[in-house]
């Protein structure tokens, strides 16, 4: 539990950040970089892209420092900006390459898939390809809620939508995946 002096220190840090103090910004970066990086990585599933997006996210955070309300928590605000940056990246990538080559991303991940003998590798590959074809907004909701098992309220806060809208997006994502898999001759 944070002590009184920690709370004062934290408020002071956030106030200084809001006023554009670069040292305060660096302290916040050091404090939150790991969790923000983890959040971005969960969405884009590509370590190199996650690092680029970290830079983009903290640049956006710095740019928006004057709009930050010190009474609010820094991390959810940072996650929301990170999610927006990741969404922009997914949209740009989708436009550039048509369907993304997620297979390579899966291969690059720090934690490799734990193969389930009940599910053939080919089916898993097709499922990951179908997932890559989902609209980015649905994809983020599905990956955070279903794969990463993040609480709906955290996903909703990061996306700037309601919990009900998150559930709806997950449902639509699952329905589209089912349709895509059926189109490939896979009956889930």
């Amino acid at each position: 539990m944070p002590q009184g002096s920690d709370i004062v220190r934290s408020e002071d840090l956030l106030n200084r950040f809001r006023l554009g103090d670069l040292n305060a910004f660096e302290s916040l970066f050091r404090e939150h970089q790991r969790s923000v990086y983890g959040w971005i990585l969960r969405i884009v599933r590509d370590p190199a892209a996650a690092e680029d997006l970290m830079v983009e996210t903290f640049w956006r955070i710095h740019r928006a420092h004057a709009r930050f309300e010190p009474a609010r928590s820094f991390e959810p605000w940072a996650r929301r900006i990170a999610t927006r940056a990741a969404l922009d990246w997914l949209r740009a990538r989708r436009t550039e390459s048509g369907s993304a080559d997620l297979d390579q991303d899966v291969a690059d991940l720090p934690s490799k898939p734990a193969p389930d003998p009940g599910i053939a590798a080919e089916i898993r590959l097709k499922a990951s390809q179908a997932f890559a074809r989902l609209p980015p907004g649905l994809r983020i909701a599905a990956v955070l809620s279903v794969v990463e098992e993040q609480p709906h309220k955290d996903v909703a806060a990061a996306l700037g939508i309601s919990v009900g809208a998150v559930k709806l997006r997950v449902f639509r994502a699952i329905r589209l995946l089912r349709k895509d898999l059926l189109g490939q001759g896979i009956t889930p």
Partner: protein, 80 residues
Amino acid sequence: MTRQEEDRIKQLLQQSLPPVDPAAEPSRDLWPAVLRRIDAEPAAVPGPARQNWFDWALLAGLVVFAVSFPATIPVFLYYL
């Protein structure tokens, strides 16, 4: 789609896209890159709120109205 199908697709998704290692961290210190980015594109100085689409729509409406009914222009000017 039945509940069972939904659960099976979720399970397939979890098998196809394994959860990210919670201990994952950047391979290098990214602070210097953040500083370079800030130097390249300095933060905007806080100023008046950005114009949003509604402001532009209102302005366009006024222009269309003034062109359609030019006799009202002096009335507008009077109230400015």
